[in-house]
């Protein structure tokens, strides 16, 4: 690959870093509008991160070095995962490692460190949050993998770029795709800590999951963790948008195509974000113990997607 390709890859990673806070801001803005509030501006999450970066960082005296390195590990792992998910174009140099198993692995690594750090300080909330996070992910990951396998089976590849190319070349309305999409949406909602699984805007101690784990963080550390969470939201958004609705993504590394791809993905993410805001307005957070039911539905959907791929689409 030429240097232009590498430059585009870096550009794509940067796009994630810069656009992620805006996406969250957009979701918050739409949600506020739907709830008849004026709400904060789209830039508010970005401002929060900027402000936190400048604040003093305090660390509990019981904390181990693990607690200090976790924000960096989480941020880097999430960013790496995001950078390989095709956002603007499919045939970038990063496509070579853009395997969906790698993405899942990197996200798992981030979560692992976050859970360890949550327990590290020894407060009750951190431990509770960590155990809840682990429980959610233990239900979400099988569903995620099952949905991924359904896609991979159709495309004969677990490479994201390969899957997207397959979707572009052979776009048909297939039951397995619909079920995989439904499953992946549910998983994404759970993994990014949105309603109805977790509520990102609450500090009510009995219900929080993600917030409970990062309760002891402050300043720069907190900024990195929040930024990572925003990137993760965007990552899932890009994943769903580009796999199931790949139209518009650049297949050639030319500037014009990239600009088209940019416009397309922004449009898709705006729609997805609005959809998320709408569903969060309509739905209430469910009891934590209902989460397994929610996620087993996701698993079931993915499973039926897989089965219907085998049964209904073989030899179509």
């Amino acid at each position: 690959m030429n240097t232009a390709g590498i430059a585009f890859s870096v550009l794509q990673g940067l796009a994630y870093v810069l656009l992620a806070p805006l996406l969250l801001g957009w979701v918050g803005k739409v949600k506020a509008t739907l709830q008849n509030r004026r709400g904060a501006g789209v830039l508010q999450p970005a401002r929060n991160v900027y402000k936190l970066l400048g604040k003093e960082t305090r660390v509990a005296h019981t904390a181990s070095p693990l607690f200090r390195i976790t924000p960096y590990v989480v941020f880097v792992a999430t960013l790496l995962a995001a950078a390989i998910v095709p956002l603007l174009a499919t045939n970038l140099p990063s496509a070579a490692v853009a395997d969906i198993i790698v993405v899942a692995g990197l996200l798992g690594l981030a979560r692992f460190f976050l859970a360890l750090a949550g327990m590290d300080v020894g407060t009750a909330f951190g431990g509770m949050g960590a155990s809840r996070e682990m429980m959610v992910s233990s239900f979400a990951e099988p569903a995620l993998l099952m949905a991924v396998f359904t896609l991979a089976w159709s495309a004969h590849s677990t490479n994201l770029a390969g899957i997207i190319d397959h979707q572009l070349s052979d776009a048909r309305l297939l039951p397995s795709m619909l079920f995989a999409l439904a499953s992946l949406v549910l998983v994404a909602v759970a993994e990014t800590g949105r309603i109805p699984v977790d509520n990102p805007s609450t500090h009510l101690e009995l219900t929080m999951i993600h917030e409970a784990m990062i309760l002891e963080y402050s300043g720069r550390h907190l900024a990195l963790l929040e930024w990572a969470a925003q990137i993760r939201l965007m990552l899932y958004g890009a994943l769903i948008a580009n796999i199931f609705f790949p139209w518009g993504i650049a297949t050639r590394p030319s500037l014009l195509a990239l600009a088209m791809g940019m416009a397309a993905i922004v449009g898709k993410l705006l729609i997805l974000g609005a959809g998320l805001a709408l569903s969060e307005t309509v739905a209430a957070k469910m009891r934590f113990f209902k989460t397994p039911i929610f996620l087993s539905l996701a698993f079931l959907l993915a499973l039926i997607g897989l089965l219907s791929h085998v049964i209904l689409e073989s030899g179509g």
Binding site: R172, L173, L174, P175, S176, L178, F179, S296, L300, L301, L303, I304, G305, L307, S308, V310, I311, L312, E313, S314, G315, G316
Partner: protein, 225 residues
């Protein structure tokens, strides 16, 4: 709509029929399960209608309408009424072994697929792949009758078996002759009414919630009148 879009629509609906079977098995409460059953009936009716349209089989329109009336409206309505009449709406029956049940269910789906492979190999019709789905729906209905001990839930299993059978007839052979379909529909309706009678009787004895309690009859029992 072009033919290809209708074909994929039929496949999607068939997959949803299977999904409805899974939902019926996994619901703890009766009313959601009955709703899933009604949706399944409606889906089967729509599939029938679409097959009638693509295959130009006018007789199937009638079957579709009959199925819709019977499976999506009449029987669910009867069961709904019974559940409310017997005050079962809030009754919950958690599955004993949820994971095992799902594993079994998936195994049954795969088994159906394996079983019909040699059969569909001889067919050229575009709906042949649905045969596996319909056999799976039949077997899942059977599974539901095994894992559920609530009488109404067992009847739902029984009725969804009928849905699977109907789907099989429609997808494999574009429907049975009219006289047979009428007869089957009549039998299903009589069965539904009979079940209603049974519920009222069992409800008096309190065995409605747990049919496993129906175990009086065996070889160790005296036959005193």
């Amino acid at each position: 709509m072009s033919g290809e879009v209708i074909q994929s629509l039929i496949l999607i609906l068939a997959a949803l029929v299977l999904f409805a079977s899974f939902v019926q098995i996994s619901r703890e409460r009766l009313l959601p399960a009955i709703h899933a059953f009604a949706w399944q009936g409606a889906l089967v009716a729509v599939v029938t209608g679409l097959i009638a349209a693509t295959g130009h089989v006018p007789g199937l329109y009638f079957s579709a309408a009959l199925t819709f009336l019977l499976k999506a409206l009449l029987i669910p309505w009867l069961l709904h009424r019974l559940v409310r009449h017997l005050k079962l709406a809030r009754h919950r029956e958690p599955l004993g072994h949820p994971i095992l049940t799902v594993v079994l269910a998936v195994a049954l789906v795969i088994f159906s697929y394996w079983l019909v492979l040699p059969i569909v190999a001889h067919s050229l019709s575009s709906t042949r792949n649905i045969l596996a789905i319909s056999l799976a729906v039949v077997l899942l209905g059977l599974l539901m009758m095994v894992v559920r001990s609530q009488a109404v839930a067992q009847v739902l299993g029984f009725m969804s078996m009928e849905n699977g059978l109907f789907l099989a007839a429609v997808s494999a052979t574009q429907g049975m002759p009219l006289v047979v379909e009428l007869g089957v529909a009549f039998d299903v309706m009589v069965a539904a009414v009979l079940f209603g009678v049974f519920f009222l009787e069992l409800g008096e004895g309190g065995e409605l919630h747990n049919v496993d309690r129906l175990n009086r009859l065996d070889e160790t029992r005296d036959g005193d009148l």
